[in-house]
Amino acid sequence: MKKLTPYFSFIFMLVFSAAVQAQTAKEPWTESQLIATQELADQINAPGKPKPLIINIGPQAVIKGSVDVGPGKEKTNIKALEKTLAKSDKNKEVVIYCGCCPFDKCPNIRPAFNQLKDMGFTNARLLNIPKNIKTDWIDKGYPVND
């Protein structure tokens, strides 16, 4: 029986890692397209450096200097997002964020990120907010709109 244990654990690991992979494969973004809150805050705070175009696709534009297009779950807002980006360089760094809820409960990030992909933005990123914009941004003292 002892001999079998390593085989079982190996199979278990295989199944488990496949399940994890299947979960990540479902999302329209890749791990490298996520941007950490600290990184974005540093970009905003750094004087004289080129800043990404930051777009709120959630209920409210909390982040300093971000453009508000409204919740991505509504088609009219996706149209607004398209219009906002119509004249932008496709290689420009564009960061979208919501922050209403954790990713698995957020209805806004997927339609918005897909729109960026469809429009061919090569440098599209999603702000990695594990809980919400209060806990992961405001409470950390990162720059906010007045």
Binding site: P59, C100, K134
Partner: protein
């Protein structure tokens, strides 16, 4: 001597600092529920303490929070069932605090779900000071407050919430 002075100074700062922390609101059972005074849908300031004398469910929600919206018909049932118990004793009151930021969406939901209970909001989304005061990490979130204003339960939902309210009001 200088060293001793520094140590004393450090100790004072430490003690003083911890006192300040202790003064911060603590959201846990047995503590007094911090006051909330925010405008209702008509813009009139309404205080949580105005419901004192009842069992009060503070419901933190928002129209952009799907699980919060799904919970509203359940809250309606609880309100209908336990609010009238007031006569001769205490009943259930709900103090709805919305973290919405668009008044139209908030108003529409109140009408849609026919929420007959108190509804307040400063329409400040996650930047609302009340989210700080109550240390809200995620929605939906709720706090049950007894007739004297003390917190008696945190974040109960579904059957657990109903069971708690039912046994509390029967006990009274």
């Amino acid at each position: 001597m200088k060293k001793i002075k520094t140590v004393f100074l450090l100790l004072t700062i430490l003690i003083f600092g911890s006192k300040i922390q202790a003064q911060e609101t603590r959201i846990r059972t047995g503590e007094m529920a911090p006051e909330i005074e925010l405008p209702n849908i008509k813009g009139e300031k309404t205080a949580l303490s105005s419901l004192r004398g009842n069992l009060v469910l503070i419901d933190f929600w928002a129209t952009w929070c799907a699980p919060c919206v799904e919970e509203q018909p359940e809250l309606k049932k609880l309100y209908t069932k336990y609010n009238h118990l007031k006569s001769g004793g205490i009943g259930l009151e709900i103090f709805g605090v919305s973290l919405d930021n668009k008044k139209e969406a908030w108003e529409k939901s109140i009408r849609k779900f026919n929420m007959a209970w108190v509804q307040v909001s400063d329409l400040k989304y996650w930047t609302s000071p009340v989210a700080q005061t109550y240390h809200i990490e995620a929605l939906p979130y709720n706090v049950l407050v007894d007739e004297k204003g003390f917190i008696i339960a945190l974040n109960l939902h579904g059957k657990e919430l109903e069971g708690f309210i039912d046994s509390y009001l029967k006990k009274e």
